[in-house]
Structure formats: C-alpha cells, structure tokens
C-alpha cells in the first residue's frame, strides 16, 4: 500500500509539472491508470493508498485543505468504482478479448473517470481556486487526461502482470528492440521533433504514420506490443513537450487535438491487441477441438476395428459360442450408438447456432422416455463400476419433444459417467407444480465454482478437454435445448464432491425456439 501511495505521488507530481490546466488538470495523468491497475490486480482494499497519495499531491501543490480532500476523494472513488465496474462486468486483466477492451474503455476510461473530474473540478470551484468560466475547460482536460491514464497506462500494467509471457528468443529480442526504436523515431517525426517541416492542421504532422509501426508491434507481440507501443508514443509526446520542442511545446494550447490523437492511438491499439489475442484463442480452441474430436471419433472406430478382427479370428478358430458372439455384438452395438451420438451432437452445432432447430412436440409419457434412456445406460454404468439409481415419479402425459428430452437425458448421463467412473450416479425425475425437474448427480471429480458457467459453453470443458475427453458439446446442447423449451439448467458442484445438474422444464414446451 505504501509503495502504491509513493508511486501515485511521484507520477502525479511529474504530471503536474507539464503545463496543467488551472494548475491541476493535465494531459499527463498516469496515476489514474496506475491506481486502476493496482486495484484490479491486487484488490480494491488498496483504495486508501490512492486517497492518501492524491491528498498529499494536491495539498502540496497548493490546494486548500478542503479542496485537496475533495479531489482526493474523487480520485480514490474513481479508481474504486472503475475496478468495481470491471469486476462486475467480468473483465479479464490479461485483455484477451475484445469485450475486455470495450469494458475498460466504457466502464473505466469514460464512466469512472467522470467521478474524479466532476469531484475535482467541483472542489476547485467551491474552494475558489477556479472561476466558473474555467470549469468546462478544466473539467474537459481533467476527464480526458484521466481517461488517457486508463487507456494507456492501465493496459500496459495489466498486460505485463497478467498476459502470458512471450517466448523471447534472441531474434525476437532484436525484433522487439527494432520495433521500439522505430516507434520512437516515428513518434519524434510525428511530433515534429526531428526533420522539421511545415506543420499540419492540428499542429503535428502526418499522425497516421505511427499506425503501421504500432500495428507491427501488436501483430508480432500481441497486447504487450500494442499497449507498450501506445505508451511509447505517449511518452514521446510528453518528453517532446517537456523539452519544449515541436508544435506541442505549449501543451495546454494544443491539448485537445493531442489528447484526441492519443485517445485514438490508445483505443486502436487496445482493440487491435485484443482482436489478435482473440484470434489466437480461437485458433487454439479449434486445434483443441480437433484433437478432442479426433480422439472421440477414432476411439469407437478402434474398438470396432479390433472387435471385428477378433470376431474373424474366433470364427476361423471355431471358438465362437453364441454367448460370446452376443457379448461381442453388444460391444459393437454400444460403440455404434456412441458414434451416432457423437455425430448427432456435431451435426446439431450449426443448427443450434443458427437457431434453425425446431421442437417437434407431441403428447409424451416423459417418465417412460427418461426411464428408457436411463435403462439403456445401465450396462455402460455397470462396466464403469457405477451404480445407477433411478427414481422416476408417476407423471401424467405432457406436451414435449421426445428426441430432445432423450438427448438431454443422454448427455447428462454420459457426462456423469465420464466424470464419475466407479461411483454411484443418481437420476431423478419429479413433477412439482412448477413443471418437470430432472436431476442427474454424480460423485466424481466435481467442478470449481468459477467453471460453473463455462461448462455450458460450446467446447467448454471445465478441466481441459484433453484430459477428460468428450467434445465439450453435450452440456452446451443441453443448455440450448432446455432454453428453447423455456426451461433452465443449473449445476451445483464443488471440486471432489461430484456434480448435480438440475433441468427444470415447463410441462408444455414451446413449439419452436
């Protein structure tokens, strides 16, 4: 906490050195980004460090006690509320998804910074530090300065702390160094610090020249390259201004175009970095899926191949009594069913994604449908050492889709057998007044609470598909079907304590999703 407080004070003092509007609002306000990143990474309990740091900075910069306190409260609230919004919107600090960039931009850079800007400027005005005429200018500079802190400084810290490490071979190190040099040189040129020439309409020329080199950094070094590249451009702008070189020598005079330029650079790089990362993630998910799909489809084929060879040999040897033959045919039948279920799940994916599957409802003895599916699993359960306990209440006929109810039951039982071999499995179907309730409980490895939502996602293995096998589609399909039927599916589970899936369906299903 003391370290955060010290860093806040030092960076804030540096920021205030640079031609602050009304003495307190500046383009350069890294403490906002540092505070947000610290509270996101290490917990919101660190807010007192921001309060103390901001108070010390403002008080020692000449603000009256009450004004300094008001601004400090605004600064601390800004960081706290920003971190809270990101947490509530399930922001991932590694910035691996485009939605993370969007949440950071809207939730922190735009929403939470308004708190500090309004509180700070209101304190300055109430304390008589600024006139009413300066309120709008100061508010704008404060808000955009803080927003840039969240858009430029926070992402760099978040990514450096949370993003997966890049493999840094000597070649990559040389490439990274070259990218840094090129970004610095291009930025110096853009800010007119080198090769002076007639300036553009905004006081700095050809600003778009920084984008190709920043894009190179983002494409080659992902978010690390994107966010660090934007930070370098920002630092160059600050240094050029501090040294009094180029058209931005009077920061407050060209504040708005420079702020807008930096905001565009930061936002563009944030979204490019996350988009590239999302693409990487999609490629990894595809490869993972292909590996798992290959495993799931080839395994029954392997059994079929071996069993057919086995049958041929036994027949040739004249050692195939009827009982043995029937046992082996059961194996073939079981693996055929398995293949059929796998292919069915795969073929369902595009239909479900496109919302093109229709429920074919009919009067249904749902107890008999679920019971038949459960009974079909008895043999497989016994082979896996699972005692299958089935409790099905007497239920009057309902209107429902037979095939889809079979599919729900099949997928839930298949899931229970995969993750709870050697342990009992309970299936129950009841009909309380609210509708139908199907529960399938296993006593297997269980699911951590932070994976509960993920198991219902497409290819959403909780513990990694490579280990568990399965296409990662079964529970997603259950969720899609149940939702289309107007019902719900929930999981209650903890690691090592098995899992209970509860499907609640209305007695009359909609006829189409």
């Amino acid at each position: 906490m003391a370290l955060l407080c010290a860093i806040y004070i030092v960076t804030a003092k540096l920021g205030l050195q640079l031609d602050a509007v009304s003495g307190f609002a500046t383009l350069v306000w890294p403490p906002t980004g540092i505070a947000l990143a610290a509270l996101v990474l290490f917990g919101r309990k660190l807010w007192p460090a921001i309060l103390i740091g901001a108070f010390v900075v403002n008080w020692t910069s000449g603000a009256p006690l009450a004004v300094a306190l008001g601004m400090a409260v605004g600064n601390a609230l800004e960081a706290f509320v920003g971190a809270l919004i990101l947490d509530r919107l399930r922001f991932e600090p590694a910035l691996g998804r485009v939605r993370d960039a969007l949440v950071l931009g809207l939730g922190a850079a735009i929403a939470s910074t308004s708190i500090s800007a309004i509180a700070g400027v209101a304190s300055l005005w109430a304390g008589g530090v600024i006139d009413v005429d300066a309120v709008v200018t100061t508010l704008r500079a404060w808000w955009i300065g803080d927003a840039l802190g969240d858009l430029i400084v926070a992402p760099v810290l978040l990514v450096w702390f949370r993003s997966p490490r890049l493999e840094l071979s000597p070649r990559r190190i040389v490439e990274a160094a070259a990218a840094i040099v090129l970004i610095v040189v291009t930025s110096l040129y853009v800010f007119d610090a080198i090769l002076p020439s007639p300036t553009g309409p905004d006081g700095f020329r050809s600003p778009y020249l920084v984008f190709p080199v920043l894009m190179w950094a983002a494409l080659r070094f992902r978010q690390l390259g994107a966010t660090t590249g934007a930070l370098i451009v920002w630092i160059v702008a600050i240094v050029v201004t501090a040294l009094g070189v180029g058209p931005t020598a009077s920061l407050s005079a060209s504040l708005l175009p420079l702020q807008l330029f930096m905001a565009v650079v930061a936002i563009a790089m944030l979204f490019l970095g996350t988009a590239v990362s999302e693409r990487d993630r999609a490629i990894r998910a595809r490869d993972e899926f292909l590996t798992v799909a290959s495993h799931e489809l080839r395994t029954p084929l392997a059994v079929l191949e071996l069993q057919i060879t086995n049958l041929r040999e036994l027949t040739r040897m004249g050692a195939l009594p009827e009982a043995t033959l029937l046992t082996k045919l059961e194996v073939l039948e079981r693996q055929g069913h398995r293949m059929n279920a796998l292919v069915g799940n795969l073929l369902d994916v595009p239909r479900l994604l496109a919302g093109r599957f229709a429920l074919e409802t009919e009067p249904l003895d749902v107890a008999a449908v679920v019971g038949d599916v459960a009974e079909r699993f008895r043999g497989q359960a016994a082979k896996l050492g699972c005692e299958l306990n089935i409790e099905i209440a007497a239920i009057p006929p309902i209107t429902g889709d037979r095939m889809r109810i079979e599919q729900i039951t099949t997928n839930l039982l298949g899931n229970a057998l995969r993750f709870g071999p050697g342990k009992p499995i309970e299936l129950s179907l009841t009909a309380p007044p609210s509708g139908l309730v199907l529960k399938v409980r296993d006593h297997g490895i269980g699911i951590a609470s932070n994976d509960h939502a993920r198991v219902f996602e497409r290819f959403g293995h909780a513990g990694g598909g490579r280990r568990s096998g399965g296409l990662g589609l079964g529970l997603w399909i259950v969720h899609q079907i149940v939702t289309a039927m107007g019902g719900t599916v929930q999981v209650d589970s903890a690691p090592g304590e098995g899992a209970e899936f509860t499907v609640t369906l209305p007695r009359t299903s909609p006829t189409a999703p």
């Binding site: 292909l290 590996t291 798992v292 290959s294 495993h295 799931e296 489809l297 080839r298 395994t299 084929l301 392997a302 059994v303 079929l304 191949e305 071996l306 069993q307 060879t309 086995n310 040999e313 040739r316 040897m317 194996v331 079981r334 693996q335 082979k383 896996l384 995969r418 993750f419 071999p421 490895i445 490579r466 280990r467 568990s468 096998g469």
Partner: protein
C-alpha cells in the same frame, strides 16, 4: 521373444511370455486388447488411467511394455509418464503410445515413447509394433 503372426493363430514362444500393461480409459478397448493379446500368449495387466497403473506398478507389477493411451480422466498419459520417470526402476519400461488424438507420432515424441500407433489400428499393426519394442528392449 514373440513373433506375432495373427493369421496362423499360433506363435513360437522362445522365452517366458512378455507382460503387457494396457492403460486406456475405454473399457471395450481394454477388454478387446486383453483378449487379442492373451490369444497371442502375452500376459496382460490393465488399468483405466495413469494413477491406477502407477498403483499396480508400485505393488510389483513389472510389464515388459506399456501400451499407453494419452487422453484419460484422473491421470492422463502425459502425467503418468512424468510420474513413471521419477522411479529409476520403472523409468526404463518401454512405452508404446496408442492414441486417437491428433498425430500419434508427434504426441509420442513429446514423451519420448518407444513407439506409437494411431487409433484406429489393426491388430496386426499392434502385434508387430509390440514385437519390435519387446525385441529392442530385450
């Protein structure tokens, strides 16, 4: 050494039958391989995942070769190999990877296995690969 020749149904046994440990989570694969290998006069021990296999190895089971599936619940093939190689007495047991996932050769190289077979495979392929591995290790 065993020379596998499935068509004849007979094999010349030169020494004590080698013991093969089959580690695969699919019960049908285990039972079918047990039957086929048993008919070829191999001894067979089975485990449904890596942890179960390690338990058997700790109680004295000493296979001449391990047929190892890679994707299994509880302890997968990769973790099993890491655990196995920590025991000097077990680390030298040759491993023949049998996997349905991805590229068997690539996966086998990752764990420096003695050989690999991609599922689905013919019994003849398995038996000749087994014979090669047993011959090399002996």
């Amino acid at each position: 050494m065993i020379i596998a020749k499935l068509d004849s149904g007979r094999i010349p046994i030169v020494s004590a039958p080698p013991l093969v440990m089959v580690i695969d989570d699919d019960e049908d694969i285990r039972s079918t391989l047990t039957e086929i290998l048993g008919r070829m006069k191999y001894g067979v021990a089975c485990a449904s995942h890596g942890l179960e296999a390690l338990a058997q190895l700790r109680t004295g089971t000493r296979p001449d070769v391990i047929l190892l599936d890679l994707m299994m619940p509880i302890m997968d093939g990769y973790e099993f190999v890491l655990a196995l190689r920590k025991h000097p007495a077990l680390a030298t047991i040759p491993i023949l990877v049998i996997t349905a996932a991805g590229d068997a050769r690539v996966e086998a190289n990752k764990i420096t296995a003695a050989g690999h077979i991609q599922k689905p495979f013919k019994a003849e392929e398995l038996l000749s690969a087994l014979a090669r591995v047993v011959k090399t290790s002996s």
